[in-house]
Amino acid sequence: MQEREVTGTHHTLFDADEMVLNMGPQHPSTHGVLRVLLKLDGETVTGLDCDIGYLHRGVEKIAESDTYAMITPYWDRLDYVAAVSNDLCYVLGVEKLLQVEVPKRAQYLRVILTELQRIASHLLWLGTHAIDIGAVTVLLYCFREREEILKIFEDFIGARLTAHAFRIGGLWWDAYPEFEKRVRDFLAIVHGRVDEYEQLLNANRIWLGRTVGIGVLPPEEAINLSITGPVLRGSGVKYDIRKAQPYSSYEDFDFEIPIGQSGDTYDRYLVRMAEIRQSASIVEQALDGLPEGPVMAKVPKIIKPPVAEVYHSIEAPKGEIGVYLVSDGTQKPYRMRIRPPSFINLQALRRLSIGHLVADVVALIGTIDIVLGEVDR
């Protein structure tokens, strides 16, 4: 603080200097270990800097000394609330490198699991976002439905969070006998439950006050900042990799890309709610059309891709997750780059927060939907 003369009116007395506020890394609303440095003028944010890296484990370095099959479980631990999506990205990248055609049944099962994971991830996001803003009840309801999905995963894959769901070439196991019934039971309730959340929040005065008009991101700026996923679609850009560059048979399914109009926090909420419904519809279509057949392609035991490089990205719940693999013809990748949606979307936090109040920063961290395991890798 600079020394000021204490003479004068109270206006000059309270003409406050800028203050630096340190938020995190243990702040509950930062969803992990994100440290945000805020420069404040009164309660208005005038500057912001993110300090990340607390969870950095060097996955890209580790990958250079592991074989292709050994790397998949590391992907579970990036975005650990959407492990199945991460697996799909990596596995598809390696399959593209190997030029392997995955059986149709495996592709459909992958779609079912990935879309269920998207619902689970969005539910976790909704619950935690609401609790950050002050609505405690929603979290309990969201976790009730998420639990159903995790139970389906547990019986299919053997794990709830760090799933290791897919293998290079397909799936390790076929669906268990009650799988279809369990998923259909879940689909029967999910639409009604989303209605319940919307009843709780859509016209809730506090919710509207905390989200409408907060953190408006115009579409051109969002694209220029490399923002992807629901944040980009909330700004009104109709970009979804499932439609733009379909992978794993997404071209077989009929679904909409929900977009927002004004690009504020409320629109991003609406987009994610609509995505839950769309995902449920995709799962239903995939179950209806689930073909018979093998779930594993013929992949050699020792995976040695040709000397090549590939970039593959998919639409994860948080945005575009991508893998850039450089193969030197050996069993281990020469270089593996993870394109992390949370990390790149977090860049927008500064742009979104400046001019808003401190309390809104909490809502804005929530609306970007970050997972620090993926930000830091």
């Binding site: 051109e220 490399s226 970009y239 590939v310 970039y311 020469y334 270089r335 890798r377």
Partner: protein, 237 residues
């Protein structure tokens, strides 16, 4: 009857006789030199293009336009596994990127990914900058590459795509390449005073920087006052 148990008992000694002899011979191999720490990184085989995977791009209107516009600055335009790659001279990188961003036929408005690859065996081209671009309006991807020598700086692309900001910071953090013109080039994932750049090939994977650890992570052994515990214990008795 006696012949049956006799057979195993006779057979048994032979393996046990044989078994001790290999351990007697074994003690020498374990004294092989321990794996050299870091200095001997995995020797990368020379990169060679497989004929089936990589093909030259011909007859693509956009690539032709870029070639026409920049001539010798475009050193290579190939498609690997159907993905288009354009290699650009580092000196004209920003102009090419500016063109790819602004030109209505290209309109690569999103820098999807930016990273580096380290090739220590390449002379004067040790580092490859790899940018994956995406055009939302044309739904098209393009990879732009630029080589640079070790220790060279690289022009920053934050002026073209604001999203390159953190990706360039990460690239600097992991490879030590300075991006000229970057507004705020600091380490992003690693601590500010971290020594070395981990994703370079000479950086060892199994390695712990004791100096850094001693300085920053206070691993002091806690001194328990055992005499006090004894007193309490005796008092209780």
């Amino acid at each position: 009857m006696p012949a049956v148990p006799a057979a195993p008992s006779e057979a048994a000694p032979t393996p046990t006789d044989k078994a001790p002899s290999p351990p007697a011979a074994k003690p020498t191999p374990p004294k092989a030199p321990p794996p050299a720490h870091g200095a001997a990184a995995k020797p990368a085989p020379p990169p060679k293009k497989g004929p089936t995977v990589t093909v030259e791009i011909t007859g693509d209107s956009l690539i032709d336009k870029v070639r026409q516009q920049f001539g010798a600055a475009i050193t290579e335009a190939v498609a690997t596994l159907g993905q288009q790659i354009v290699r650009v001279n580092k000196q004209s990188l920003v102009e090419v990127c500016r063109f790819l961003h602004d030109d209505p036929d290209a309109a690569f408005d999103m820098c999807a990914d930016l990273t580096l690859v380290h090739w220590p065996d390449r002379k004067d081209q040790e580092l490859d900058l790899v940018i994956n671009l995406y055009s939302v309006s044309h739904n098209r991807r393009l990879r732009v590459k630029a080589s640079m020598a070790d220790g060279d700086s690289c022009p920053s692309l934050t002026g073209v795509w604001a999203g390159a900001d953190w990706m360039e910071r990460e690239a600097y953090d992991m490879f030590g390449v300075k991006f000229e013109g970057h507004p705020d080039l600091r380490r992003i994932l690693l601590p500010e005073d971290w020594p070395g750049f981990p994703l370079r090939k000479e950086y060892p994977i199994e390695y712990r920087d004791n100096e850094w650890t001693d300085k920053h992570l206070d691993y002091r052994e806690v001194d328990y006052d055992t005499s006090l515990i004894d007193v309490k214990y005796s008092e209780r008795r």
